[in-house]
């Protein structure tokens, strides 16, 4: 009997031990996974916090169209709009124009839609499509954001400049300029597609 009991009991206890060991391993793995997730989340948050001041110091947006308003820059010129610690800078291949944050009087942003196929070449191409197919092409458009900056020169002369950026970028730039100390007044948004008369 002793021999039997000693033969049966060790088998049962080893099974229990194995179950306990496995469950401990599982719990350990679970705890490890949870800790990993927490560590990864914390690291991401820390990275974001560290990255955002750097981004606010020098944000650079390429392919921005300056519609009008900058000295020595022709209307509708494309270039790179950068946010520097001192203000905005618009640079093309040849010229570079700065707008200091202190000189900014107001900043406006707005949504617009632009045709996917536009310009003189696009217009000609649309006209060349037979059976009015150019009108179908005109249906394709994309959203852009318009950034309007009003500022004063050294003599107190009023200037304004209009930039067209891809969607979402103008609001980001405005927020960063406001964080730098640029003046902004509360604005009323005009209603869409309505005629107004005095």
């Amino acid at each position: 009997m002793k021999t039997r009991s000693t033969q049966i009991n060790p088998g049962v206890s080893s099974k229990q031990q194995e179950i306990v060991r496995r469950s401990l391993q599982l719990v350990g793995l679970l705890v490890f996974a949870v800790v990993e997730v927490f560590v990864a989340t914390a690291a991401l948050a820390t990275n974001r916090q560290l990255a955002s001041p750097q981004a606010s110091q020098s944000t650079s947006i390429p392919h921005v169209k300056c519609v009008i308003g900058l000295e020595n820059i022709r209307p509708n010129t494309k270039g790179t709009l950068s946010l520097l610690p001192t203000g905005l800078e618009f640079a093309t291949g040849k010229n570079k124009v700065d707008i200091s944050t202190a000189s900014i009087q107001d900043i406006f942003t707005g949504q617009e839609s632009r045709q996917d196929v536009s310009g003189p070449a696009g217009t000609l191409a649309k006209a060349a499509i037979p059976y009015g197919g150019g009108r179908i092409v005109s249906l394709f458009s994309h959203q852009v954001e318009v950034l309007t900056v009003e500022y004063l020169d050294s003599n107190g002369g009023f200037h304004g400049t209009v930039f067209v950026l891809s969607s979402g970028k103008a609001t980001m730039l405005k927020d960063q300029l406001v964080a730098q100390g640029a003046k902004v007044t509360p604005h009323l948004e005009p209603p869409e597609q309505t005629e107004q008369k005095q």
Binding site: G69, F108, R114, Q115, R135, G156, T161, V162, P190
Partner: protein, 182 residues
């Protein structure tokens, strides 16, 4: 046959001569009279002189909302087009302190009267709808506030082009009026 032909020729010749004389007389009468002498033609307004102009910004009435990008594009386009006319030695911006010393300064104001925002897509698809238009009252005034010239003009984009092209059209009309006035 011969006398008949001669008679027909004389008749035709006399008609042709009479017509030519009539045409000449009419064209001579239609010529504008020399300046300084009153004549039957429409009188042109005398041109004004000014060495410099200052474009002052004017806020629209409270019930007329115009997008700020349209206002800024109008302002900058007008400054550009006025400079291109070469009628003035200097085009001053609104608020420029150096304009205070200019003796014969003319003040330009654009008072917004109506604005309709169209749609480029609608214009290109339908051709007949979606026009953007902006109507303003142009005022050239002296420094003491006397209105020298006033006219209502409208800038619009009807078929092709972005909405802000209406401001370019308006600026061209402002420059044309400045050319006529100075």
């Amino acid at each position: 046959m011969k006398p008949r032909t001669r008679a027909a020729f004389l008749s035709n010749f006399s008609i042709a001569v009479a017509t030519t004389v009539l045409l000449l007389a009419t064209s001579l009468l239609a010529q504008p009279s020399p300046p300084g002498k009153p004549g039957p033609g429409p009188q042109q307004k005398p041109k004004l002189t000014a060495s410099a102009i200052q474009f002052e910004r004017t806020d629209p009435p409270e019930d007329l909302l115009i997008p700020e990008d349209t206002r800024i594009a109008t302002y900058e386009n007008v400054i550009l087009q006025l400079t291109k006319t070469k009628k003035f030695q200097h085009v001053y911006r609104s608020g420029d302190r150096t304009a205070a010393d200019v003796p014969d300064l003319v003040i330009l104001r654009l008072i917004p009267q109506a604005f309709k925002k169209g749609s480029q897509k609608q214009r290109e698809v339908t051709t007949v709808t979606g026009a953007t238009s902006i109507k303003v009252n142009i005022q050239f005034a002296s420094r003491d506030g006397k209105i020298l010239r006033e006219k209502v003009v409208q800038g619009k984009v009807r078929f092709y082009g972005e909405n802000l092209r209406a401001t370019y059209d308006l600026a061209k009309k402002v420059a044309a009026l400045a050319n006529d006035t100075f």
